[in-house]
């Protein structure tokens, strides 16, 4: 009832109404509403692509957050408050996703985890900033997100400049590559990683022969790849997501392109090897270590597999940590008001998460996440090939 009154009062609710109603059917509907006797629940907004082409990541993230919530609530909640998740499906679509921020404001959430895609997280963070609601990002890696001077924005995962740098160091110092051609999908995330790779590759003494954009919805890249082949680069770096990456390696190899293929954690899902087939084998992908490869995440992975009979995807561990970081902040603050949570989040230091330590710096970035280079094996699994942090 209370939510209903708020909806009517908010001018934006009308605009958001249809999108959120559609987005919430089936997701929120299935969510058991936990109300502890007496204490008000802590409402955490969770926004991810739960349907659409990036849903495999979003659903896994949602599962991970639910695991964390269940374990907190099983121990009586946080300071007597049960945790309640309000899920929102962004469909990985900016317009739909940004409407989610207004929806969370109208629902009076205490904190938000989201929004997966950088091009949604950045505008959404401005709306949450105006409303004074803390936002912890567990997958949006574009540096701009935390560079807007918003005191309410935090990020447990790494950033694209760190990722681009690891790829460049690997290409120059491990593969001893001299030349590279860079392609990106002209989206905030892909273009970001590619731009940082290109800058760092040049700084390390390499030469960028060409940097071009592609339309990720096309199926034929043969013309572009024919031009790439004629430049004979040592490296073909691509910033973007897996279906396009798979088509690029497949068509490139069949044209006789010999360059080593390097890409990012948008490509680490199974769609890359499905589309690329044998041509994907031997590709190098930069990513934070997946939960399965982290000793600290073993209990989390085991519990996840037991509960969902599936493996968690790349960002699931970060989402699990994001929820627990918020819970820790509430404990530190002895308050569930958004303003108090923001102050406590800024003080989070040496928090032990399943993905490693969480230390927020002055702009809200986690200073400890580490990137590694995976290699696609001949059985289509990914194996850590180079870890710049292991000495």
């Amino acid at each position: 009832m209370q939510a209903g009154t708020r909806m009517r009062r908010s001018a934006l609710a009308g605009v958001v109404g249809i999108a959120s109603a559609v987005a919430l059917v089936g997701w929120n509907g299935a969510q058991a509403h936990v109300h502890a006797a007496g204490a008000t629940p802590v409402k955490i907004g969770f926004a991810n692509p739960l349907t659409g082409s990036e849903a495999s990541y979003g659903v896994s993230d949602y599962n991970a957050v639910k695991l964390a919530v269940n374990s907190v609530n099983a121990k009586g909640g946080v300071d007597g408050h049960k945790v309640q998740i309000i899920a929102y499906d962004t469909k990985a679509d900016p317009a739909t996703g940004i409407a989610g921020a207004h929806y969370f404001v109208s629902q009076g959430v205490n904190a938000v985890i989201g929004f997966f895609n950088s091009d949604i997280s950045i505008p959404a963070s401005a709306i949450l900033h105006a409303a004074g609601i803390p936002m912890v990002s567990a997958a949006s890696t574009n540096p701009k997100l935390t560079e807007q001077g918003f005191h309410n924005v935090f990020r447990v995962c790494g950033t694209d400049n760190e990722q681009g740098l690891v790829e460049a160091e690997f290409a120059r110092n491990v593969l001893h590559a001299k030349t590279a051609v860079v392609l990106d999908d002209e989206e905030v995330y892909g273009e970001g990683v590619s731009q940082f790779f290109a800058n760092d590759f040049k700084k390390l003494g390499g030469k960028i022969l060409s940097h071009q954009g592609i339309n990720p919805n096309l199926t034929d890249y043969t013309s572009l790849l024919t031009q790439v082949k004629a430049m004979h680069p040592d490296i073909l770096q691509f910033g973007g997501f897996d279906p396009a990456a798979g088509l690029l390696v497949k068509q490139g190899r069949s044209l006789g392109l010999k360059s080593t293929f390097i890409s990012d954690d948008g490509v680490i899902g199974p769609a890359f090897t499905q589309a690329g087939g044998r041509s994907a084998v031997g590709s190098f992908l930069s990513s934070a270590p997946s939960p399965q490869d982290l000793a600290s995440a073993r209990p989390f992975v085991a519990e996840y597999v037991r509960t969902y009979h599936a493996q968690p995807t790349e960002f699931a561990g970060y989402n699990y940590d994001a929820l627990n970081v918020i819970v820790q902040a509430i404990r530190d603050a002895h308050s569930i008001t958004p303003a108090a949570i923001i102050r406590a989040l800024a003080g989070i230091h040496t928090f032990k998460g399943v993905t490693g330590r969480v230390d927020f710096n002055s702009i809200g970035n986690n200073t400890t996440p580490e990137y590694v280079i995976y290699r696609v094996q001949s059985n289509y699994s990914n194996k850590i090939y180079w870890n710049p942090n292991a000495h």
Partner: protein, 300 residues
Amino acid sequence: MGTLAQQLVNGVVIGAVYGLIALGYTMVYGIVRLINFAQGGLYAAGAFIGLEVVEILQAHRVESPALLILAALAGAMIATGALAFLVERVAYRPLRRAPILSALVSSLAVLFLIENVIQLLTGAQPQTYPSLLGLQPWTLGPITLAPSGLLIVLVALGLMGAMQWFVQRTRTGRAMRAIAVNQEVAGLMGVDVRRVVALTFVMGGALGAAAGVLVGLNYGTITFNMGELAGLEGFTAAVLGGIGNVPGALVGGLVLGLLQSLITIVLPNQWNEAVVFAVLIAVLAFRPRGILGERVAERA
């Protein structure tokens, strides 16, 4: 020079795909003067139905690639033809006397309806075609060509020839041309207008399905929304060649494909679509009815 030759090959292959999709637009437009935007949806439906046929046959231990490809093409063309028949009955026939804009919007609705049904049935993840023609492309000096690429070009040429023959040389083809000139009069002269119009849609659907299956075979990856962009490119090819003109569809497709390929030699890829569509505007400014001009009927 090797690069230029390879770009010509690339352009012909992708152009043949555009040409096949354009044929579907041109058939329907040439006869009923409707730009059937559902064509992109029928193309995607054909790709998914073809994959289903291949998977069912492979489950029954059919292994001959030639047989699988033929079955996928035939199955997809028949089933998508039937789907197009249904679409015509439900979404166009009731609008036959309505302003043409109503039918146009209806065709857009059908495109999104088909897309969403595919997504509901198969999920949003891209689906993978088995590589039936072998992974190894042929190489001739600096040029490489996938066997499936050649298949696309041959099928496109074959279907274009068949359509041209059908429209110009058969009794039903003559009925189609008569309807294109004047539906009322054709009806008065004893042509079964409803039946012939329905057949036109069925043929358009079957052509789209053939393109969908061939794209699946050649590129290996199909997505539920593949019809949006491809439909737009096919429509552009049809307009470029002269919409309603059967050989024009293939000519338009090849011009568009070659243009896209050759532009990548001189300009960064992100300029590609901007330049292609600028050329389209220029061509239409000088030849408003496309490169080959006239509609089906005017050739008679």
